[in-house]
């Protein structure tokens, strides 16, 4: 004699929901009382109130990402963890850490040539004799003649050679990053939620400090939530070899200034609506304004001969100091019983001429009350920035801004993934997710010059990654 087998906790949730409804309809809870909070049935996040009202509990989430691109390109390992403590009256405080170690080869922005090419870049420690990843990078340390009038000892540079017909890549790429973030939120005054947070991220050539604040209000029996979040980020870039002067020739000397900053401010306006018993949606509008140093300090463009297409020199890239971006994001979740479908769309536009469209679909299928599988797919397409060029041509006037970074180019990407989750108890979950990501673009533009017609100019990547995660609720 057993009630039909369902997903764990579903009956209790239904009873809780029904009871809350029965009493909410007949009793007006006193605003601000702790138990009144517990009558409301949908917080925007962290609704796992499985310990009952008035009982503080904690959630510990951890995850490990292992990422690897094809062709010996970037690989990364990134563990992360987050602890959130829920107080008895809707308060939340959280603390998180992320570490990542990235290495591998990354395109330097130059185009391939039918002859070998030599590139030089500053070594990481100014004035030192330390070798830099030469074991994996295949680079050699060279001594450079001192600049005229410079009485200091000869500077060092790092030189690497790229074979003919290969996409030029710097193999000496190697970095560690540590980041910490914290947040706090609670109901306050008449508002459903008021929160603040911040973060600090440091890596060997970059630092970012973020602060944010958020207010949210529930309406309509908690079926509607409107929120406004503001954030500000202060970044500082201190590349190896100093900050190069844009659109000047590539060289390994240390340059000044040694660092440049960037500020970013923005807001996200969000509407979350439970439309029917089975359908939840979220509609967000975001606006961001960035001002400051936007360049990739290591990236160059090839200047090619106007008839043969052979590279003649290399210049550091340049991007505008200001950038405004907007996006509209719409997510829908449908609960059909044994499956939950998640569809989201995003439209993005900025004043660099880039527009992009994203569509994602995930279908979570419960195989039993403790195991689920979730296949997913993502399609993404972006247009090129209006200062994107695969290369520059000798003799033409220099543009004010130019970049050959694929990240600002025109391409389409597809991601396919599948996730499997196990919930051995109602309080823990363990999941594994595998994804394959691939960028495709036009590497043979019609107006390619000379030898470039035989080269594939598109530097997009393909990658596989695995994410392993574990969550645990306790008190």
């Amino acid at each position: 004699m057993r009630i039909k087998k369902r997903r764990a906790g579903q009956i209790r949730e239904s009873i809780a929901s029904l009871s809350a409804g029965l009493l909410a309809a007949t009793i007006t809870p006193i605003a601000g009382s702790a138990v009144a909070q517990s009558y409301s049935n949908s917080d925007s996040n962290h609704n796992r109130d499985t310990f009952g009202p008035g009982i503080a509990y904690s959630e510990l989430d951890s995850a490990l990402l292992v990422y690897k691109e094809g062709d010996g390109r970037v690989q990364a390992i990134e563990p992360s963890t987050d602890l959130t403590v829920h107080g008895p009256a809707g308060q939340e405080i959280s603390l998180g850490f992320v570490f990542d170690a990235v290495s591998g080869a990354t395109p330097n922005g130059a185009v391939p040539s039918d002859l070998p090419q030599t590139f030089v870049t500053p070594v990481k420690a100014q004035g030192s004799t330390a070798t830099v990843t030469s074991a994996s990078g295949g680079s050699t340390i060279i001594h450079l003649p001192p600049s005229p009038g410079d009485l200091a000892a000869a500077a060092l540079g790092r030189q690497y050679v790229v074979p003919a017909n290969a996409l030029p890549m710097d193999r000496g790429f190697h970095d560690h990053r540590w980041a910490i973030n914290f947040g706090w939120s609670q109901p306050m005054g008449g508002l459903s939620e008021v929160g603040m947070g911040g973060g600090y991220s440091i890596e060997q050539d970059y630092r970012a400090i973020t602060v944010n604040t958020r207010v949210a209000q529930n309406f309509n029996s908690n079926n509607t939530t409107v929120s406004l979040a503001l954030n500000m980020e202060l970044d500082s870039s201190f590349p190896y070899g100093g900050v190069p002067t844009p659109l000047t020739a590539m060289n390994p000397q240390w340059k000044s200034p040694s660092s440049r900053g960037k500020t970013q401010t923005g807001f996200v306006l969000s509407l979350t609506q439970i439309v029917t018993r089975h359908w939840l949606m979220q509609l967000n509008y975001s606006f961001d304004w960035q001002s400051g140093y936007q360049n990739d300090p290591y990236r160059i463009l090839s200047v090619v001969d106007p008839s043969s297409g052979e590279p003649l020199s290399y210049l550091y890239e340049n991007r505008p100091r200001e950038r405004q971006t907007q996006s509209v994001f719409w997510e829908n979740k449908f609960d059909f019983g044994p499956t939950v479908t998640d569809i989201s769309l995003r439209y993005f536009k900025d004043d660099w001429g880039i527009t992009s469209k994203t569509a994602e679909l995930a279908e979570r299928i419960d195989l039993s009350h403790s195991i689920y599988v979730e296949p997913s797919a993502r399609w993404y397409q972006q247009s090129a920035a209006n200062f994107f060029d695969y290369y520059l041509v000798q003799g033409q006037s220099l543009p004010a801004y130019a970049t050959s970074d694929t990240r600002l180019g025109k391409f389409t990407s597809l991601t396919y993934g599948v996730k499997i989750g196990f919930k051995p108890t109602g309080r823990t979950e363990f999941y594994v997710r595998g994804d394959y990501y691939r960028q495709t673009g036009d590497g043979h533009p019609a107006n390619a010059i000379g030898q470039l017609q035989q080269q594939n100019l598109f530097a997009g990547s393909k990658a596989a990654y695995v994410l392993i995660g574990y969550t645990w609720d306790f008190h």
Partner: protein, 83 residues
Amino acid sequence: MQRPSSQPMVRCGISLAVFFFALAMCSGCVAIGPKPWEKDLMARHEMQPDSYPLQTAADEHIYFSKEASSGGRGFAGGGCGCN
């Protein structure tokens, strides 16, 4: 190449934000959505808007470092130097 004026974009942005807010206010007035006792399914963890924040953060970090667009669900900044 001249950077195009950002004025039309800001105006477009502001009108979109106003429309958006009006939509939110309207939905508050017209009671859309299930009754409290019909919200059993919404209590499911996987029906929350961002049910796996560390997974989302990992995905956002990868896409931020490979693509030009970021944000949508949350802030557009990456908090790191990968772009």
